[in-house]
């Protein structure tokens, strides 16, 4: 019987495991690209057009640049908090592009690309980071917890995993009412330990709503590695228990992610719900409050770098003759300019005062809230 006690604790981060993406076949991981960007994996190249692949690539580069800027804004004290996405660009782009705009997406906490892929502006994105009054969530939520109804993007409720049944429930409702939307939720490996994973998978297996559940397995939940989270390293297979179709996919391979999600999406009538495990790695900090040096072996990031999704897709495009350094330089320059404009705009925006935050508790307010509001506003006004 293997026990936790066998692991003598040394106080140092433990030696990293080999990168699972390097053993995609043995581990049942669907993969198009190898680490040099050649499409010779166990999954056929979806053969997207140059334009489409370029869109993937440019968006991955853009969200990486946003992440970089967000991090710096936090470090310099301009915004209070930041949730990095470094290394996880592929899953948000590949998956989102496989859906229709009318499909609903429930976010976890690292998927900024959905916002932009669905046509919202960089300016409003930074407005959310700054908590501006005019962004859809009106300064109520932590930076990065974006969402907006006009693009069918639902910001999570912060308790990780808790919205899994919301996605399943919404999909079930659409099915019952004859809606044509499909539903997708991103959630982390850590979040799967919560009861809602069990509930959501169970209901999904029984009622077969049009939902895709994307487990972004990045190997860590804050400081906790996978083998302290579950004794079964294969997340996808957890679907078997519930009669839910499932697939493991290279989470750093935008083409494989696109292909697998598109298949699940387009055949949802036949397949029912799919649990998609995207095997990836968080190259950055958990959040701006984190310090991975305390718990993660420095070697681990090094091992994953050859599997960097941006690098792999760039090599793929270069192999095809679709990309070169000139274009890269131009893209970087463009992003820098656009991001700077967004930052400048966001910094000029009004942040909410106390009054507007009293809205939206109910469709109609009540005497309790109004009385409290009046008192607080008067006390604050009286003294300031």
């Amino acid at each position: 019987m293997s026990t936790q006690s066998d692991n003598k604790f040394t106080g140092n981060p433990r030696e990293p495991e080999p990168v699972p993406l390097a053993q995609a076949d043995e581990l049942g991981i669907k993969q198009v690209l190898d680490c040099d960007g050649n499409a010779n994996g166990n999954l056929a190249d979806p053969n997207l057009s140059e334009d489409e692949v370029r869109k993937f690539y440019e968006m991955m580069v853009l969200v990486r640049a946003i992440d970089d800027r967000g991090w710096k804004l936090q470090r310099s004290g301009r915004i209070a908090f930041w949730i990095p996405l470094l290394g996880q660009e592929a899953v948000q782009v590949g998956v989102t592009c496989a859906l229709d705009d009318k499909d609903w997406i429930f976010r976890a906490h690292r998927e900024l690309a959905v916002w932009l892929l669905r046509g919202k502006s960089l300016k409003m994105l930074f407005a959310q980071f700054y908590g501006a009054e005019e962004e859809p969530l009106r300064g109520r939520r932590l930076p990065c917890l974006i969402g907006s109804r006009d693009i069918n993007l639902i910001s999570s409720t912060t308790q990780v995993g808790a919205s899994l049944p919301h996605a399943v429930g919404a999909a079930w409702a659409a099915k019952l009412l004859g809606g044509s939307e499909k539903f997708l939720i991103f959630f982390g490996d850590g979040s799967a330990s919560r009861g809602e994973f069990h509930s959501a998978m169970n209901f999904a297996g029984i009622h077969q709503p049009p939902v895709m559940m994307v487990c972004v397995n990045n190997g860590w939940a804050v400081t906790t590695p996978l083998d302290r989270q579950t004794a079964s390293a294969n997340f996808a297979a957890k679907g078997d228990n519930y009669g839910v179709r499932n697939v493991r996919v290279d989470g750093n391979d935008p083409l494989a992610l696109y292909a697998v999600t598109k298949d699940a999406h387009d055949n949802i009538e036949e397949y029912g719900p799919t649990l998609i495990e995207a095997v990836t790695f968080r190259l950055g900090y958990h959040t701006s409050s984190d310090n991975p040096d305390l718990y993660r072996h420095e070697q681990e990031c090094e091992l994953w770098k050859p599997w960097d999704p941006v690098r792999r897709l760039r090599l793929y495009m270069e192999n095809k003759g679709w990309w070169d350094q000139t274009r890269e330089d131009a893209l970087i320059a463009l992003h820098e300019k656009e991001i700077q404009e967004a930052v400048t705009a966001a910094e000029a925006m009004k942040i909410p005062g106390p009054a507007s935050q009293f809205d939206d508790v109910f469709a109609e307010t009540n005497w309790m809230i109004e009385e409290q509001k009046e008192r607080i506003l008067s006390e604050v006004k009286a003294d300031d």
Partner: protein, 328 residues
Amino acid sequence: MTEMTVLEALNAAMAHELEHDPKVVILGEDVGIAGGIFRTTQGLQNKFGVDRVIDTPLDEKGIAAHAVGMALYGMRPVVEIQFSGFIHDCIEQIMFCGAKYRWVLGGEYSVPMTIRAPSFGGIMGGIWHSHSPESYFAHGSGIKIIAPSTPQDAYSMLITAIRDPDPVLVLEPVPLYRTLRDEVDETLKTQEFGKAEIVRSGSDITVVVYGPLRHKTVEVADSLAEDEGIDVEVIDLKTLIPFDIETLVNSVKRTGKMVIIHEASQTMGFGAEIATSVQAKAFGYLEAPIDRVCAPDVPHSYRVGDEFYIPNKDRIRAGIMKTMEAIL
């Protein structure tokens, strides 16, 4: 006008909404073929089908959570929690997801769900089958709480709850399900929340109550009028969040005294909020401290809970007399 039990009134309310709004579904453990443990949904699955009256897995939290998702999409799910003693696993989902989504999502979404919680004691159910859950839902924000305790209120208030754009928790009076029968005017489809009812007007003391104890309290009031010449005003709160502060304050301004009666245990029971709010607004009129007659801070015992923990008529009477005598 039709004579109905409370149970029949609830059933009729759900049948009406299922009939007239395709977005209404009923969800819960065993709500289908047999109509639930209490038969509240009897016949509904047969009439409206398995996609409208849905048997769920045995997972209260999962039921509530999926209903939140359905409601986000625009449905009006009506969740039955088999007994309100099993509702605590849903608190995070109801209070910190469902009830917060409107605000947290910038006012862009709403969660029009109804949670039916068969509550209160009196069936020798012991701790988990005799529960008053309101305190776990009355703090925080984003959910309404109602406690109908007549067939008419059950009918009109449940329909109102189903049509409400926000989450509503319905404390259903289990001990009255089959024992209380009265006329129901089915043309009264809705009833504004937040309005208390002066069930018996009186000038000597204000007694605030909600749920099944409303009826015992009126009986005690009547007997006090007869035996002691004390004229008790009995107010059925009916809506807990938001509660009808005006009616309470006006009453206590007339009587100068207030006793609050509930089945939930005393400490941090809803009586605490009523008392605190009322004294804040009617302090100068009070002739005695506001008193509470409640269950003690002890779990509900199978053997003695119904008889002694839930305020019985002796205790209600003694409680009223205590405040009356405090003045003398």
